[in-house]
């Protein structure tokens, strides 16, 4: 059992290392020095407190979208819809944040709950269709991503603003922005949301590992027949799983709307928070702690990479390739598993 756990930690670590190594080869191949490249990446993520603050800011929504994908995975569902759930969450948070007047202890929680509820609704639809009609959740969630994107754009333009490209800023009473954090990190956009994200990770762990709800959800994910035999409602659990997953992603949207930006603008395309969440969940082995660690890595790569063109002259496209390679090796961790098992056998 112990060696099994070690194995689960070892495989993602090796995946990341191979990804970094492959990235180094690519940089070498294009005539860049990989060491300066990675030093620039490191500096860009942790070089001073400003970068550190920005990294944490990026990690925050990654944790939540990672949880959204991981939670559904544990029930045997593939939530590709975190992207759309983020958008509707963002919209709902900004809507509440800009149109309601209330003291902070009501306004801020209300805005976050609205975001979670919007995301939950966006999860409920594919959950319901899957449970009652057997429609595959991947198809529905992909379609709902577009529905969310263009509906949100229309609402931002026509309802929340007067034909502008962005909404007004949310009221101070609904803002997650933290002057204290900002002063500490040379005015990065780091905000209080990180605490909410970490708390959400604890909730996910508790739900999955410690409650009868998690017991049923996992059971349905592992074996629907045995779950039905044991008197669980397979349909209800499928819907519930997508609702909770959607709520996590919706909250990720509120991190952007109430924290990082403080408004919502018309978006020309997806911001990839949801799609990156899939990679975060995979790398984190769909556990709460794993997701937090994987989100930290992704936030680091994303923010640190911004420094690579300026400090090491590596073009951004190459940086994207390197990140993609890391994801590739994570996703192909099956191969790494196989190789390790092979070596173990040889030793004996």
């Amino acid at each position: 059992m112990n060696s099994n756990r070690l194995f689960n930690i070892l495989v993602p670590l090796i995946s990341v290392l191979i990804g970094l190594f492959a990235g180094a080869l690519i940089m070498l191949g294009f005539g860049y020095n990989p060491i300066t490249g990675y030093v620039a990446l490191w500096n860009g993520a942790f070089g001073d407190l400003y970068y550190f603050g920005e990294t944490i800011r990026q990690v925050t929504p990654y944790i939540l979208t990672g949880l959204a994908v991981a939670f559904a995975f544990r029930t045997g569902l593939f939530n590709i819809g975190a992207e759309g759930q983020v958008i509707v969450g963002w919209l709902a948070a900004v809507w509440v944040g800009t149109t309601i007047e209330a003291p902070m202890y009501i306004h801020l929680p209300l805005a976050i709950i609205a975001a979670a509820a919007a995301g939950a609704l966006w999860g409920f639809i594919p959950g319901l269709l899957k449970a009652t009609r057997g429609v595959h959740e991947v198809i529905i969630t992909i379609m709902l991503n577009y529905t969310a994107l263009y509906s949100a754009n229309a609402i931002v333009r026509n309802v929340l603003s007067d034909n502008e490209d962005k909404t007004p800023d949310v009221a101070a009473t609904a803002s997650l922005a933290s002057e204290w954090f900002q002063n500490m990190t040379f005015f990065s956009r780091m905000h209080y949301g990180i605490f909410i994200a970490l708390f959400a990770a604890v909730i996910m762990w508790f739900l999955i590992e410690r409650t009868t709800i998690g017991y049923e959800l996992k059971s349905v994910g592992f074996n629907q027949h045995a779950s039905k035999y044991a008197g669980m409602s397979v349909k209800r659990n499928i819907i519930l799983s997508m609702v909770i997953a959607g709520a996590f992603a919706g909250m990720a949207g509120s991190m952007e709307g109430l924290g990082t930006f403080g408004y919502m603008s018309v978006q020309s395309g997806f911001n990839n928070l949801g799609f990156d969440g899939i990679a975060v969940a995979l790398l984190g082995a769909n556990t709460a702690l794993g997701v937090v660690l994987a989100a930290l890595l992704f936030g680091t790569l994303k923010v640190g990479a911004l420094n690579m063109p300026t400090e090491a002259g590596v073009p951004t496209e190459l940086v994207d390739i390197i990140i993609a390679l890391i994801i590739f090796f994570v996703a192909s961790s099956y191969i790494i598993r196989w190789v390790i098992l092979r070596f173990k056998k040889e030793e004996k």
Binding site: T212, S219, S227, K345
Partner: protein, 508 residues
């Protein structure tokens, strides 16, 4: 001595376990050689070594006296070794011939010569008395016929040595007799057969010699003529085994389960139970005998709430439970040992502990306010593991890591422990070895003696005859006859199961 296949001192290891240790099996030309062992004893591993799926760490394989390196199944085929699998590997919409030539189709200028192949297959079938119609589609022929197609497949590929993996598990008694005739016809023609089985009676009946393996080790090879069922059993298990299912006569009391005019359709909307009537009373074991596919599975699914019934009633202690949800059915006092323990009985990725509370996790003390109490769960699990002799490294081991017998003991522990008024056991000993079967039969009878009603569904006639107090024969979705086990025999039951009327069968 002329050996066609010799496996000498074979050793095969997997990480952490020795699956075969110093096993020797020598197959004479023209003999039927039984390979006997409990589940998990290493029979399949040994045969997979012979078939080229595993490479042995030590030992030697000789074919016709020459050392052979069998690196993959194709090599085995070329050496004339063929396997008749327990689970048939046939393409249902294809004809018999199409299935047989699959992978080695005879072609003329790139076009499959089906006519020629059909003639060849038919000739082979006639030669060994298989009575297979080469042009029939697989989905239209019986399970017994499908098995013969598997046999033909190996013969068509030129097999001289045939390995039969648990061939009688899916057959009716009549089909078993016919299979034995076929096996004798094969050996008469000079073929040699390795018969993998744990059914001792069959070994006594048909094979000349028998190699016994226990816990991976080769124990002995005996001449069947010089041995007895009891000796074989103790060789296999490593201790004396009692075959007599000891029980006193039943004292049935009030009716617990009543099924009236029940009609159930399966998932494809085909009517499978067509007006079933059945009663089970407290303190008796009712066995339902029948060939697989005559509505037994659907009957159980309807009683346990897994499948809706079309019409009719199911009553437990005079309370209507027709079309209630599985949970309501469970709570009305029914325990269910499902036919397919991997599909229904267990969540294989859960630990044994988590599986032990699969029916009760939402109740105190296992959870309170929806929060699981792991301490209580594992306390219960450890108690059940102890009481039902589930051999597992710990309660934290995944259910998938246990052997079939121990998985089944865990399920029985879980279901019996809830002390249900009615215990439904569907094929409770399928694929288990003598030791585990003995244990499970004892438990079922204990429950009966406690005054519980037990409904036993099994395709094994021995089991039905040994354990039941009353036998209901199910044919074509109906209860066609009820007999007492001491007033009937396998022959009569076999005929009833095949649909002949009781009078014609010469019954009482």
């Amino acid at each position: 001595m002329d050996y066609v296949v010799e496996m000498l001192n074979i050793r095969k290891e997997f990480p952490g376990v020795v699956a075969n240790d110093n096993v020797t099996l020598q197959l004479k030309k023209g003999e039927i050689h039984a390979l006997l062992g409990e589940n998990g004893a290493g029979k399949s591993t040994l045969m997979n070594v012979l078939f080229g799926l595993y490479a042995p760490e030590k030992g030697q394989i000789r074919v016709n006296g020459e050392e052979a390196k069998i690196t993959d199944p194709n090599v085995a085929n070329e050496l004339g070794i063929g396997m008749v699998h327990q689970h048939f590997m046939l393409v249902e919409p294809f004809t018999v011939t199409q299935n047989i030539i699959l992978g080695s189709e005879p072609t003329t200028f790139g076009k499959i010569n089906l006519r020629k192949a059909e003639q060849e297959v038919q000739a082979l079938s006639d030669r060994y008395g298989l009575k297979v119609d080469a042009t029939a589609r697989i989905r239209d022929i019986s399970v017994g016929m499908q098995q013969r197609v598997e046999i033909l497949k190996t013969l068509y590929r030129g097999a001289e040595v045939l390995i039969f993996d648990e061939p009688t598990a899916v057959l009716t008694p009549q089909e078993i007799t016919e299979l034995m005739q076929i096996m004798n016809a094969l050996t008469d023609e000079g073929k040699s057969i390795i018969l993998i089985t744990h059914k001792l009676k069959e070994i006594m009946e048909i094979s000349e010699r028998c190699t016994v393996i226990r816990k991976g080790r080769g124990i002995d090879t005996v001449n069947v003529a010089d041995t007895s069922v009891t000796e074989l059993a103790s060789l296999m298990v490593g201790r004396d085994v009692s075959f007599e299912v000891e029980k006193r006569p039943s004292e049935p009391e009030e009716t617990v389960l009543k099924v009236r005019d029940l009609v159930v359709k399966d998932s494809r909307k085909v009517e499978m139970v067509k007006g079933m009537n059945l009663e089970v009373r407290a303190g008796e074991i009712v066995g339902v005998a029948g060939v697989d596919g005559n509505g037994q599975s659907e009957l159980i699914e309807a009683i346990t709430g897994l499948q809706k019934s079309e019409s009719g009633n199911i009553l437990v202690r005079d309370k209507e439970i027709t079309n209630l949800s599985p949970r309501k059915v469970t709570e009305s006092g029914i325990g269910h040992i499902p036919q397919d323990r991997h599909k229904y009985g267990l969540v294989l990725d859960y630990t044994i502990g988590e599986n032990m509370v699969l029916q009760t996790y939402y109740k105190k003390p296992y959870s309170k306010y929806k929060i699981l109490n792991k301490k209580e769960i594992y306390k219960k699990a450890n108690a059940l593991i102890e009481e039902y002799d589930v051999r597992t490294p710990s309660a934290y081991t995944k259910a998938s890591a246990l052997s079939g017998g121990n998985q089944q003991k865990a399920i029985i522990g879980r279901e019996v422990d809830r002390s249900p008024d009615l215990l439904i056991a569907a094929q409770p000993t399928r694929g288990l070895d003598v030791g585990a079967i003995e244990f499970i039969h004892k438990r079922l009878i204990e429950e009966r003696d406690k005054g519980k009603a037990v409904l036993l569904i099994s395709f094994e006639l021995d089991e039905i005859l040994d354990v039941s107090d009353r036998i209901a024969v199910m044919f074509d979705g109906k209860n066609v006859a009820e007999v007492k086990p001491d007033e009937t025999d396998e022959n009569e039951l076999g005929l009833l199961m095949a649909g002949s009327k009781k009078e014609k069968a010469g019954g009482k």
